[in-house]
């Protein structure tokens, strides 16, 4: 029931945006800003690039407001645009440029969180090592597998939604995910102990 209510709410807001209501756009932004930026961050692993791409996602939503029809779930549409932008960014090799600063924001952010819990130096180092390993393992996945995993694991999208975002069938998504998790299990198995 919650999912249906959410769908109606987003579609309703977007229809108001289409009618020229800017407050509704602000509400949509409020609801989806963080998931979209976080999805893009985990895709491109660079905060500045993720936010830049997220800006583009919302700009495109705004630009296409006049043509909006509530025929698909708003979130699916949003992630379809975000995925498209992320895959293009990765394809165009822009990754290397941002890679140098990869992503110290993330490491610093987690270090701050860890510091708040007053861990020992060893614990802090362990956190950082684990974090880097997870990040690198995800970053090494082929782009489409990475997108599927990030939407599945972190955004909790359904297989059907991921399929629409990636323009493929549900069975293709399950196969992408299965291969991705298989690779991740192999790369990260030593961490479980």
């Amino acid at each position: 029931m919650e999912a249906v209510a959410a769908l109606e709410r987003d579609a309703e807001l977007m229809l108001r945006v289409r009618a020229g209501d800017t407050t509704s756009f602000a509400l949509l932004l409020e609801r989806h800003r963080t998931p979209v930026v976080h999805f893009l961050f985990r895709m491109v692993q660079n905060q500045a690039v993720a936010e830049e791409l997220a800006q583009e996602v919302f700009l495109r939503v705004y630009r296409s407001r006049e043509r909006y029809e509530p025929t698909a779930k708003f979130t699916t549409w949003l992630f379809r645009i975000a995925t498209h932008l992320a895959l293009n960014w990765i394809r165009d090799g822009k990754k290397e440029k941002g890679q140098e600063s990869l992503n110290e924001d993330l490491i610093e952010g987690v270090e701050r969180q860890v510091a708040d819990q007053q861990p020992t130096v060893e614990q802090e180092m362990l956190y950082e090592v684990k974090l880097r390993e997870v990040r690198d393992a995800i970053g090494m996945l082929p782009a489409k597998q990475r997108a599927a995993v990030v939407m599945h694991k972190y955004e909790e999208l359904e297989y059907s939604q991921i399929a629409r975002a990636l323009s493929c069938s549900e069975s293709a998504v399950k196969s992408l995910l299965f291969r991705a998790y298989e690779t991740l299990r192999a790369r990260l198995s030593h961490m479980a102990s």
């Binding site: 602000a26 932004l29 800003r33 963080t34 930026v37 976080h38 961050f41 985990r42 905060q47 690039v49 936010e51 830049e52 791409l53 997220a54 800006q55 583009e56 919302f58 700009l59 495109r60 630009r63 296409s64 909006y68 029809e69 509530p70 025929t71 698909a72 708003f74 699916t76 549409w77 498209h84 932008l85 293009n88 165009d92 924001d105 993330l106 952010g109 987690v110 956190y127 684990k130 974090l131 997870v134 990040r135 995800i138 599945h152 694991k153 972190y154 297989y159 629409r164 975002a165 399950k174 196969s175 995910l177 299965f178 998790y181 991740l184 299990r185 990260l188 198995s189 961490m191 479980a192």
Partner: protein, 159 residues
């Protein structure tokens, strides 16, 4: 229950078991099976462990000025002449050219002014015209991306 590695939807069962999306009844089935099947026990445990390990990849908070930057760009677009908005919509690169810099918007403003000047001045220099032509030159890939975007931007097409 038959060995999970042999059933048709084994991939889904494994992933849903790991994520906690599997129904209680099916979890019980899997748990009964893995009591006697070492291969599955290892596989399902590894997937659960992976799921927990992946939680480590937290994402940082969104910058406080994210909305302000977005609204500035929207305002800039809304203020642009209609023809420019239209060409931008049609030929927008699929990804932003660079990390946003104030210089970009300044350059865009200059370009608009240049075009405006050219339109108003019949004898505009050839150099300016070349510049404008260069601005409008789009390679095949960009057109393909733009068409792709148009298709993607109709929510109906996502169904």
């Amino acid at each position: 229950m038959e060995c999970v590695t042999k059933i048709k939807d084994s991939a889904e069962v494994l992933m849903d078991y790991g994520s906690g999306a599997l129904s209680a009844a099916r979890v019980a089935e899997v748990d009964r099976h893995i009591e006697d099947c070492e291969a599955c026990r290892q596989l399902f445990a590894a997937q659960r462990a992976l799921w927990l390990e992946m939680d480590q990849l937290a994402a940082p908070e969104v910058s406080g000025n994210f909305d302000a930057r977005l609204y500035a760009r929207i305002a800039e677009e809304d203020a642009a002449p209609a023809w420019r908005r239209w060409t931008r919509r049609l030929f927008a690169p699929a990804v932003p050219v660079a990390i946003w810099k104030p210089a970009v918007s300044l350059a865009a403003t200059c370009a608009v002014l240049t075009v405006g000047l050219m339109v108003r001045t019949p004898g505009a220099s050839e150099k300016v015209q070349q510049q404008v032509r260069a601005d409008h030159a789009v390679d095949i890939e960009q057109v393909a991306d733009a068409l792709d975007d148009l298709e993607m931007l109709s929510p109906g097409s996502a169904m």
